[in-house]
């Protein structure tokens, strides 16, 4: 189902992930979050931006286990744990945060 943001229409796949990574803009994340009844805070954006940087460097969306460890290393142990990440992204930090960030579904998410 296509998503409307910033007066434009963006194509998504059957699971709601953005089809063209390069289309992404922050407004898309806001719209997707609103659909999930979430309001994005600075803490959410910290993870979304982290994911986008990870993708830029490695060309993959990390599995949640890998994301948790990498967040812990970069942002501190109090953020690198599933409890914190799930409190921000209740549908799963891998799947939901990657979707907001315009990334594909994480590689190694089972």
């Amino acid at each position: 189902m296509p998503i409307e943001a910033n007066g434009k229409t963006f194509e998504t796949d059957e699971e709601g992930y953005l089809v063209n990574l390069s289309d992404w803009e922050p407004a898309i994340a806001e719209v997707m979050a609103a659909q999930d009844e979430l309001e994005l805070t600075d803490e959410h954006w910290e993870i979304i931006n982290f994911l986008r940087e990870y993708y830029d460097e490695y060309q993959i969306a990390p599995a949640v286990r890998v994301l948790t460890k990498a967040v812990g290393k970069k942002l501190g142990k109090d953020k690198g744990n599933s409890k914190y990440l799930y409190s921000l992204f209740p549908y799963g930090p891998g799947k939901q945060a990657c979707r907001f960030a315009g990334l594909p579904k994480p590689t190694g998410c089972i």
Binding site: P62, A63, V66, K69, G108
Partner: protein, 135 residues
């Protein structure tokens, strides 16, 4: 279920032109979630998969070589490269990407993932595996 098996993924083909190299890498990343003892081997034209400075601009395929650097995050830390395959192609370890992993038990000390092994050593390693996947 808790029994750990030794899995080796053999990569024998060049990175582009077919989907094998990328498929292999994806299977490795997905399989890493199962916490098995995983290693990768690069031989024949497979050694080209981990060469540095890859540029796919002209062939209209995604350059996925940066993804090999994520293997360490997935706790895949054993990458064997066959010495003879490198030599037959006029390559050395200096032509390969510098792939590392960080040892959490040693305060994230950075360690090399790539080990160059001879054909005979690789044969022995293959013999020790429970499962060998060939791509």
């Amino acid at each position: 279920m808790s029994e750990t098996k030794k899995f080796m993924y053999l990569n024998r083909r060049p990175p582009y032109g077919t989907i094998y190299a990328w498929e292999s890498l994806e299977v490795v990343l997905i399989g890493a979630a199962f916490e098995q003892d995983v290693s990768l081997a690069f031989l024949d034209d497979g050694v080209y998969q981990i060469m540095k400075g890859q540029d796919t601009g002209e062939v209209d395929m995604k350059n996925f070589s940066p993804t090999y650097s994520a293997l360490g995050d997935y706790e895949v830390t054993k990458l064997y490269v066959e010495k003879e395959s490198l030599e037959e192609r006029g390559l050395s370890i200096d032509d390969l990407m510098h792939l590392t992993w960080e040892d959490e038990d040693e305060d994230w000390a950075e360690k090399d993932s790539i080990q160059v092994v001879t054909r005979a050593e690789l044969a022995k390693l293959m013999d020790e595996q429970d499962v060998v996947f060939s791509f």
